[in-house]
Homo-oligomer: 251 residues x 2
């Protein structure tokens, strides 16, 4: 079916944190969000990692939020001095930031009542939300994420980010899902490059990716066909398998 | 010692590939390069992931190479139609691209002589180097990377990228290394935020990062002190341990 669902929805990811750029922490969020979005029909077109520097966060956020339908940020929303994402988001949107009543109520419940921890000034920082922003529920540790405009501000700790993403996903408009097929071939990609290119040229709306692998002295290739149209994908896969012949294990 | 070695050297990473943004492949190169550069005294300030689209690669590359001392790219230098990085780099630098004699010789040796594979048109693509560019040796599979201006173009397959990085590293000017100390504390970061901030304010040239973790119902915090001056780091660590008292396991 064509129509409204033929549209695509684009997104970018902005991961924030010195520790990701020093190599201390390997980012796990970009890949997770990318896969999640592909599955629900949102195309992630770009990802960036920036340090905990307000100016860089503001610049990247403004560039990305004007270029894509959605932006997902991770990191920098905790209680310590190096958590500056909320302020940077407020600055990017040109709005003030203040303690959000509902966020305060959540923190009171989670920190004071449930965990018996003091709701000190540092923790109260986590209730600061740019004006006009809404909350993203955090089922893991309480302190909420932020939803403002087309930007979703999430935690950096993967388990918390993943829980937040489950709350964000139902809010998103989605496009037609990108479907894919993978052919794992025991042949070096240079030997099938001409075939891949020929099939690629034959079908618009199809993208063929070629990903070499190298295991125990054997060179192989994963060929990935991607399209939003299942029928087109069927046809292209059949055409590719025929063109590959014995190389595709077809006999 | 102060002097020339007090300077900092900056870098950015540009990872190229649709598969990184679809979630099919989790990027492993950014974290590896980031850690490697930190160890040799190069500060990675930003990382980006873009799709296999020439326009986006060119734009990102030009932005990054004018903003940082070095740019490391990964991905898109194989023999297939979706490998467009070399052309994008040529376009970014505004130079023609042509088959490089030394690259041709390497491919002849590696593909024809050693592996008995045909050096077909697709594989010859891997000898195309933007004019003015030099080669980065690939000890794993032969096809070289590219060094042009302040940009180092490397493979996307981690094992190959890592081998190339070992060849690139000796070419880099490096600054004074960023040193770090980590204190692993069994306390929620909200309880030590005020202490961290106070110590942070006390020392310029020091950056304190606070990274919460959550294991089996226990909230803890890794506190990372970073500075280029070891004496400063010693002092700051002592001051922080004193301020934390029993929280740091000091008694």
């Amino acid at each position: 079916m064509a129509g409204e669902n033929d549209k695509t929805v684009s997104a970018a990811i902005l991961a924030i944190g010195d520790e990701l750029l020093s190599g201390r922490t390997m980012d796990k969020n970009i890949g997770y969000i990318a896969r999640y979005m592909t599955e629900i029909g949102v195309d992630v077109r770009e990802a960036r990692i920036v340090a905990d520097e307000e100016e860089r966060i503001v610049a990247a956020l403004n560039e990305l939020r004007s270029s894509y339908d959605y932006v997902f940020t991770t990191g920098g929303i905790g209680p310590t001095h190096d958590d500056i994402t909320a302020d940077a988001v407020a600055k990017a949107f040109g709005v003030p930031i203040s303690h959000h009543p509902q966020a305060l109520a959540i923190l009171k419940e989670r920190y004071e009542k449930l965990r018996g921890l003091e709701l000190n000034e540092a923790r109260l920082r986590m209730a600061r939300i740019p004006d006009g922003g809404g909350l993203i529920e955090n089922t893991v540790s309480g302190a909420p994420g932020i939803h403002i405009g087309n930007v979703f501000v999430m935690a950096g700790v993967p388990a918390i980010m993943q829980a937040m993403l489950d709350k964000v996903a139902p809010l998103l408009k989605t496009g037609r899902r990108m479907l894919s097929r993978t052919l794992k071939l025991s042949v070096a990609e240079g030997d099938i490059a001409a075939i891949l290119e020929a099939v690629q040229k034959q079908y618009s709306g199809l993208s063929i990716g070629s990903y070499p692998f190298y295991n125990e002295q054997v060179f192989g290739t994963n060929v990935v066909l991607r399209a939003r149209d299942e029928k087109l994908l069927d046809e292209a896969e059949a055409a590719l398998r025929e063109a590959l012949g014995a190389l595709a294990g077809n006999g």
